[in-house]
């Protein structure tokens, strides 16, 4: 029997009270909250919640205290349904009051003009919410969740209740709220008034929707550019990825498995534009190919490679491995007995392949297509590196925000188009596939043997895939070599000067000096990615757990929002963050925290997916058995589920870390001079034509990431299952 049913409630009540007492309430500008801990009894900015309320006249902060007080009465009531009324009134009331005041009262008094008119100007203002406010809100929210659980929701499980409410609030706060707010601002005219037609004035022009290219070769609109490119890339990567997967699983010998695995891993640990850089060294104006043509045939080098062709090829290289990984999982999941059945029904190998094998791959193909499409429209690095005059929506959004035009409304309007494209393909995928389920992996072992590919198919695959692999290797090799030569195209002497510029170390007066220009960005990136990765992995697995193992009202909605995070292009998320989080109550622009949050919520779907796949392989009766043995849900998670989920945990950790290290599109809006990231630093160098340093940095990143991944794998370790060797299929992740 649970000896202390109110333990969790008490914990959050005390936490909430402490949030009011021992930490500053508001966000502290220019320094960290822990450095002003000694000034919490005074100071307009640094005071704790109680002082802010009584001394500084921000009396509305007391609704949180009131809420905690009401909830505390619930402790005197016997555990069970009678407590719910106290917990719910106190928790929800306090939460709604605090958050409401946060939105209503901003840095200049009332946030809405109507209130100024009705109540008159407000004498006191308030800043963005800080650590104290955040923790107090969280405590109130958790207490409300307990109230719901006591009412009988969530099967009365306090842990599940708080996890569901907590995760939903996070999703609402950091995905739904910023995206909706940003998209809404497309309907505001430059003066900030609502005007439904504003969006059409912004994006209804020739530059976006023009179809000139069809008629007379003048450039097409950006929207068409993006759509066309994304469709080509999605199609290309799906076809190539499927071919590679079939070859790897059904035709290739053990010798090529290693290069295949390396190729699959490379794009995860390298920034997406490395391929673009490598291609420039090959085909750019000073590239090998052009130089050879000039030398041999006296053809003037031009920038022919820059543009749609270059971007397409670069994205094909960058995203095919992702399609490969998705399709590989699907091919592995095909039950060989299906093909064997077809063959015993008089189908020859070719007929079997085209009537059974390929149709069964359909859901996987649709998934790979969707992921390829979204990757392409969200990609920022490659278009900026090899795009030349060819512009796409993601680059246009960037220039609308950071360029001379600084037009938020335009950025938001462009984000609308991007979001609609993504959601359109998402909806199309769901409509086409419907509820078709071709999952052929079951708990029962399939004793069949996979059919060898028909000869014609195998020959085609060989002819396409091997040259492609070789070419990929060449591109990466060039990117690698590029860091070691003086100036590409002119002076090919070996040098380490680029590494020295970026990562130089000197012995100064006071010891070691990090003299290289890249150290700063490298440390920042490592720090922020390092903080975000474990949180992402844990929250991702928690959401996966909730989706896989619990049933509650509103689960469908919860699942939908979690899924939606997949479909939102990184660029849109980045723009949303900068538009939504620059005013109280959440004022984060320019801090490292906003980058961490962006990393987190951009990579969350990956964690969720890794977890969902793993939970499918874990017998549900194991967690039920643990619950029956008087373990609480939290104890079950730690003692039973987590040890058995280690592979998924590693996968989620590695992916979220690697993707945080290499992402460009989402964070390019959020970096500042003091929070510069590795990828944005490299993009900056490329912008200056400083390819040597950029490539040297890429090389360092790739090596560093390989080491870190190896270390994570070593630290987290293998799961202990006794002598049984589970031939668990590697977790398949659609990387978005």
């Amino acid at each position: 029997m649970n000896k202390n049913p109110n333990k969790a409630v008490r914990f959050w009540l005390v936490t909430g009270a402490l949030a009011y007492l021992i930490i500053p309430w508001y966000a502290i500008q220019d320094t960290a909250w822990y450095s002003v801990l000694l000034q919490i009894l005074g100071g307009a900015e640094t005071a704790n919640g109680v002082v802010q309320a009584f001394v500084n006249g921000r009396i509305w902060l007391l609704c949180g205290v009131l809420g905690l007080g009401i909830a505390a009465i619930g402790l005197a009531v016997p555990p069970g349904r009678p407590q719910s009324i106290w917990f719910l009134t106190g928790g929800l009331g306090g939460f709604a009051g605090l958050l409401g005041c946060g939105f209503l009262i901003g840095a200049t008094g009332w946030s809405f003009d109507t209130f100024n008119a009705v109540f008159g100007e407000l004498a006191v203002n308030q800043f963005g919410m800080g650590i104290g406010g955040f923790i107090a809100l969280m405590s109130l929210l958790m207490i409300s969740a307990f109230g719901l659980a006591r009412l009988g929701y969530f099967k009365g499980d306090l842990f599940v209740a708080s996890a569901v409410i907590g995760c939903s609030t996070l999703l609402a706060m950091f995905i739904a709220f910023p995206v909706v707010k940003a998209l809404y601002s497309a309907f505001l005219d430059p003066e900030g008034h609502f005007a439904l037609l504003a969006i059409f004035r912004r994006i209804g022009d020739e530059r976006i929707w023009g179809l000139g290219c069809l008629a007379d070769g003048v450039r097409c609109g950006v929207a068409w550019n993006t759509l066309f490119l994304a469709l080509c890339v999605a199609l290309g990567t799906t076809v190539l990825g499927t071919m590679m997967a079939l070859l790897a699983e059904r035709a290739a010998g053990p010798r090529v498995q290693t290069p295949l695995r390396v190729v699959a891993l490379l794009p995860i640990i390298t920034p997406p534009f490395v391929v673009g850089l490598g291609l420039i060294l090959l085909f750019g104006r000073a590239g090998i190919v052009n130089q050879f043509l000039e030398y041999a045939f006296d053809i003037e080098p031009t920038r022919w490679f820059y543009g749609v062709l270059g971007v397409w090829i670069a994205q094909m290289f960058a995203f095919t491995p992702i399609a490969f990984m998705i399709m590989r999982g699907v091919v592995q999941g095909l039950a060989p007995s299906m093909e064997e059945a077809a063959q015993t029904l008089r189908a020859d190998r070719k007929q079997t392949f085209f009537t059974i094998t390929l149709p069964l791959l359909k859901p996987g193909l649709a998934n790979a297509f969707l992921v390829g499409f979204i990757e392409s429209i969200a990609d920022f690095g490659n278009p900026i590196v090899v795009g030349g005059q060819f512009s796409v929506l993601s680059t246009d959004i960037f220039f609308a925000i950071v360029g001379a035009q600084y037009d938020q409304g335009r950025a938001a309007s462009l984000a609308w188009i991007l979001t609609l494209f993504a959601l359109g393909v998402f909806a199309l995928q769901h409509a086409l596939l419907g509820k078709q389920q071709y999952t052929t992996v079951s708990g029962k072992g399939d004793s069949g043997i996979a059919m060898p590919l028909p000869d014609a198919v195998r020959r085609t695959l060989n002819a396409v895939v091997y040259p492609w692999l070789a070419f990929t290797m060449v591109v990466y090799l060039f990117a690698f070599i590029g860091g070691f030569v003086q100036t590409w195209g002119r002076d090919y002497t070996f040098t380490l000067v680029h590494f020295k510029t970026a990562f130089g170390l000197e012995w100064g007066q006071f010891g070691l000096v990090w003299a290289g220009t890249a150290w700063n960005s490298l440390f920042t990136t490592l720090k922020l990615a390092g903080i975000s990765a474990p949180i992402t992995a844990v929250v991702g697995l928690l959401i996966a757990y909730l989706l896989a193992r619990t049933d509650f009202k509103g689960r469908g909605m919860f699942e939908f929002v979690a899924l939606l995070a997949f479909a939102i292009p990184g660029t849109v998320l980045g723009v949303s963050y900068i538009l939504a989080f620059n005013v109280p109550p959440v004022e984060l622009t320019g801090t490292g925290l906003i980058i961490i949050l962006c990393f987190m919520f951009r990579n969350l779907p990956v964690g969720v997916q890794a977890g969902t796949a793993a939970f499918k392989q874990l017998d549900k009766s194991l967690d039920e058995a643990s619950l029956m043995l008087r373990a609480s849900t939290a104890q079950t998670l730690f003692n039973v589920v987590l040890p058995l989920l280690k592979p998924a945990l590693i996968a989620a950790l590695i992916y979220s870390f690697a993707r945080a290290m290499t992402t460009v599109s989402a964070v390019i809006f959020l970096v500042t001079a003091e929070n510069e990231l590795a990828t944005t630093y490299i993009i900056g160098r490329v912008g200056n034509g400083d390819y040597g340093v950029a490539l040297a940095y890429c090389t360092v990143l790739i090596i560093l990431m390989s080491l870190i991944i190896a270390m994570i794998q070593y630290l987290v370790g293998e799961r202990k299952l006794g002598r049984r060797k589970t031939g668990a299929a590697p977790t398949v992740l659609a990387v978005n």
Binding site: M1, N2, K3, P5, G80, R81, R150, G152, K155, G156, D157, K553, R555, G556, D619, S621, L622, E624, A625, S626, L627, M628, L629, R630, A631, S632, T633, Q635, N639, V640, P643, L644, R719, K720, L721, G722, R723, R724
Partner: protein, 348 residues
């Protein structure tokens, strides 16, 4: 009367749709303390849902669950004094035998040394000695079963639940474990709820049998009553083999079935009824009276014969333990009814 578990008007609906079908359609029953109650029914009848609601793994849509008089409807599994043995055993694959058995104690905050000694005792109790450090994957099916049983027992639960515990064992081991579970239950006077779809298993272990059909309780009672006096066609057919014949209840309380007259054990209302007859209730008489039948099918099953006779009542299936006087096909015999295995049921 003290019930270990009591259900009051419990319903259960899966999914959020309020117009969706009910898996359990309003049932009430009690499990007396220190007894073994079996919930029996075909797959999909809601019996596993009932068990999971006792465990606290599912919560009812409406109604009340009481344990030893206390309302536990909204409490989770950890807050009820229950433990359960799973069909798949659900042994934690990353813990060895002792760790598995001691898990529940450890989670309740019992000191480490005591956890171990109590776990070892529990294993001794179920007759598993010398396997303490093995991993579950290194044990046979029967041994895994014992570990699962020890793990459930070690917490000294007020109510012990079994979810088809014998379905993964072969026939021989099944009988052995069945007897062991019953012996253990009586020795420790445990309150047990036991789910199965196997009627012979239910008859062998139970103090009380509850037969469920389509989300409702069809009938409940002690094993012998359930077998001999089923009050519906469904229960008669589910509790062993039975053939149903149309009959006519007369005003004098007797029932006419074709040429046969039956005196039912419980009073019946006059009118059309059905009579359920167990195949072993027929008595074969080479030249006796009763229904005349001609043997048209015969199978030898080692310890008994199965015959099918063609009669005016249609084909009649009969089980005969008589191995000495074997009937050849085509034999004409008289069939009459013994005073057991015959019951009059309501019209379906």
């Amino acid at each position: 009367m003290s019930y270990g578990v009591e259900f009051r008007n419990i319903t259960k609906r899966y999914g959020a749709d309020p117009s969706g079908p009910l898996a359990v359609k309003g049932i009430s029953f009690g499990v007396e303390k220190g007894t073994l109650t079996t919930i029996l029914g075909p797959s999909g009848c809601g019996k596993t849902t009932v068990l999971r609601m006792i465990a606290g793994l599912e919560s009812p849509t409406s109604g009340q669950i009481l344990m030893e008089g206390k309302d536990v409807t909204t409490l989770g599994p950890a807050e009820r004094n229950v433990s359960m043995m799973f069909q798949s055993y659900a042994l934690f694959p990353h813990m060895n035998v002792v760790e598995n058995v001691g898990y529940g104690l450890k989670m309740s905050g019992v000191p480490k040394a005591e956890v171990r000694s109590r776990a070892v005792d529990a294993l001794k109790n179920v007759g598993l000695v010398g396997y303490n450090e093995r991993m579950p994957s290194e044990l046979s099916g029967g041994q895994q079963q014992r570990v699962a049983l020890a793990r459930a027992l070690v917490l000294e639960p007020g109510v012990l639940l079994f979810d088809e515990p014998l379905s993964n064992l072969d026939a021989r081991l099944r009988r052995e474990m069945r007897e062991e579970i019953r012996a253990l239950q009586q020795r420790l006077s445990l309150t047990v709820a036991y789910v199965t779809h196997d009627q012979s298993e239910a008859l062998a272990v139970s103090d009380l049998i509850i037969v469920m059909n389509d989300g409702l309780i069809a009938q409940s009672g002690p094993p012998q009553e359930m077998y001999e006096r089923p009050d519906s066609e469904f229960v008669a057919g589910f509790m062993g083999e039975a053939m149903l014949f149309p009959g006519e209840s007369k005003s004098d309380g007797r029932v006419q079935m074709g040429p046969l007259i039956i005196t039912p054990k419980q009073p019946v209302v006059a009118g059309a009824v059905k009579v359920a007859v167990r195949p072993e209730a027929w008595q074969i008489d080479r030249n006796g009276d009763g229904v005349t039948g001609k043997l048209i099918k015969s199978s030898y099953l080692g310890s008994y014969f199965e015959y099918t006779f063609d009669t005016v009542l249609g084909n009649i299936f009969v089980v005969s333990p008589d191995l000495t006087d074997v009937l050849p096909l085509g034999t004409q015999v008289g069939l009459s009814l013994a005073n057991h295995g015959v019951s009059v049921v309501k019209l379906a």
